[in-house]
């Protein structure tokens, strides 16, 4: 019954309302950290819950780990996707633990007791440090694992970001575990530039992120961490238990998303947004559409 005029004038009003503090009537609020992958995951979760008939408020691009965590504790948000390794080290401040079952059990119990939060089903990928080499080198020399790399380290030059060199669970422990003896001290530089330097042949091996969209785009290969040196950073939605009690449909919906995004899929989604500049909403919708008919049963 609304006239054209009324419909037009409502748009600016709506966009203004989203700036107001949360007094929304939505069923739940979804947050994300402020980087591409986290925003994509927040959007996927949001759209999937919407397809179940829930109304969702988006607080994507909210901030860092601590801000998202705090938002859940305060009840300003109900869901965000966190990484097991990040929560274990940065939030719980526990020493590095490589047994994933132990990590998961610690996360489950401490989150429940301290904050009444619940870790749900992991989405399926592990965004960890990734030793990357040029695809041509990997094929020519038949490189598959980090152990294969140690035979070449004495003639290869590494390039790393500052964080990787500084962290105890980064470069220092890596050389110890695999016995790497590189020909030169690593060139330490901005993480993003290490990709360029590798593609251009200035360095021969770098430590990137395993779900980075540039890996396929630059024809790089992620070697296998055969001695399981790097801790796992499995992505999984963290939810306020109060919200789960109020809307039981959330748990079922998140269970359906479990295991649907492997490393390669996450790399592709990141690539579509970062390199091809596709809108996150569309990338998320396309991804969810591919799930239709497999393990998803949308009830709309």
């Amino acid at each position: 019954m609304t006239s054209n005029h009324a419909r037009r004038s409502r748009l600016p009003l709506l966009s203004f309302l989203t700036l107001l503090p949360a007094c929304s009537s939505a069923d739940l609020t979804i947050a994300s950290k402020s980087f591409t992958e986290s925003i994509i995951l927040g959007e996927i979760v949001a759209q999937h819950l919407e397809s179940k008939g829930l109304t969702v408020d988006r607080k994507l691009n909210l901030g860092g780990t601590f801000i998202c965590h705090q938002a859940l504790i305060n009840g300003q948000a109900d869901v965000y996707v966190e990484y097991t390794g990040t929560a274990h080290a940065a939030i719980l401040e526990l020493p590095t633990e490589r047994d994933q079952a132990v990590v998961r059990q610690q996360l489950d119990s401490i989150y429940r007791v301290n904050w009444d939060l619940e870790w749900t089903e992991p989405l399926g990928f592990n965004n960890t440090f990734a030793m990357l080499v040029r695809g041509a080198d990997a094929r020519e020399r038949n490189l598959r694992s980090y152990s294969d790399l140690s035979a070449l380290a004495h003639v290869w030059k590494p390039g790393f970001g500052y964080e990787f060199v500084e962290r105890a669970d980064g470069y220092p422990g890596l050389t110890e575990t695999y016995g790497f003896r590189f020909v030169a001290a690593p060139a330490v530089m901005d993480l993003g530039l290490t990709y360029r330097a590798l593609a251009d042949g200035q360095v021969d091996v770098i430590a990137g992120n395993s779900t980075d969209g540039q890996i396929e785009a630059l024809d790089l290969v992620h070697l296998r961490d055969d001695l399981e040196y790097f801790p796992r950073y499995d992505a999984a939605p963290v939810v306020r238990r109060a919200a789960l009690d109020e809307h039981p449909a959330i748990r079922a919906a998140l269970l359906e998303l479990g295991g649907t995004i492997d490393d390669a899929t996450m790399r592709r989604l990141n690539f579509l947004v970062d390199a091809e500049r596709q809108p996150i909403r569309e990338v998320a919708a396309q991804f969810l559409a591919t799930l239709d008919g497999s393990n998803l049963v949308p009830n709309r």
Binding site: A187, V188, D190
Partner: protein, 215 residues
């Protein structure tokens, strides 16, 4: 505060090494920027048509984000790659604008009567430039170099992003460690360096001005 001095003392060898690298980066890039920028500034006082394009390009250079510039430089032979060369190229590019503009402004602001007198004495254009215009424009040119140097000290901290060392190493390390002491170990020496160079060049500028007024 005491904590900071203890940290600086404990890492003094590194602080010194990165300070020397930093001075090297700023020094080499400023000298190169003067070598390129001053002739460019002179040329655009003689060829009015080039003025817009040259100042425009120098202006655009200023707006290129440093990481993007490094991204372009890595694949380039001779001037690019990782390490000091790319960093110096970027610093030169950022230093050009104040040097070119002040050279141009300094020369065009020379009193027309003075230039007429020089022409009347039968000087060639080259003599006018060398004996009249450049000496009179010198204080303004030095002011431009001063601005370029001080900005350069700040910008040179991003050289650490491409493996060229300098005091930025502490800043990048500190950010990734979330440790403000390490960040300050880079930021404070860089700030002191900027203040000292600014003061030093200011003295040169004033001395030149004073001599001009006496003669």
């Amino acid at each position: 505060m005491i904590e900071f001095f203890e940290y600086m003392w404990a890492t003094r060898a590194e602080v010194l090494r990165h300070t020397v690298e930093h001075i090297g980066l700023v020094g080499v890039s400023t000298i190169l920027a003067v070598a390129v920028g001053v002739p460019l500034g002179v040329v655009i006082t003689r060829r009015a048509r080039l003025r817009g394009p040259v100042l425009g390009v120098a202006n655009v250079f200023q707006t290129i984000p440093s990481l993007a510039m490094f991204g372009f430089l890595i694949p380039l032979p001779f001037i690019g790659g990782i390490g000091a060369r790319s960093a110096i190229v970027a610093l030169v590019v950022y230093a050009l604008l104040p040097i070119v503009r002040n050279t141009y402004t300094g020369i065009t602001e020379v009193d027309a009567a003075v230039r007429d007198a020089a022409v009347g004495m039968g000087m060639t254009d080259r003599e006018i430039l060398r004996l009249v215009e450049l000496p009179l424009a010198f204080p303004v040119m030095i002011a431009g170099i001063r601005v370029a140097t001080v900005i350069g000290v700040g910008i040179a901290t991003i050289a650490a992003a491409i493996g060229a060392g300098g005091l930025g190493v502490f800043i990048f390390q500190g950010v990734s460690r979330v440790d403000h002491l390490t960040i300050l170990a880079g930021a404070i020496p860089a700030a002191l360096m900027a203040l000292i160079l600014d003061g030093g060049l200011h003295l040169v500028e004033r001395r030149l001005d004073w001599r001009r007024k006496r003669t």
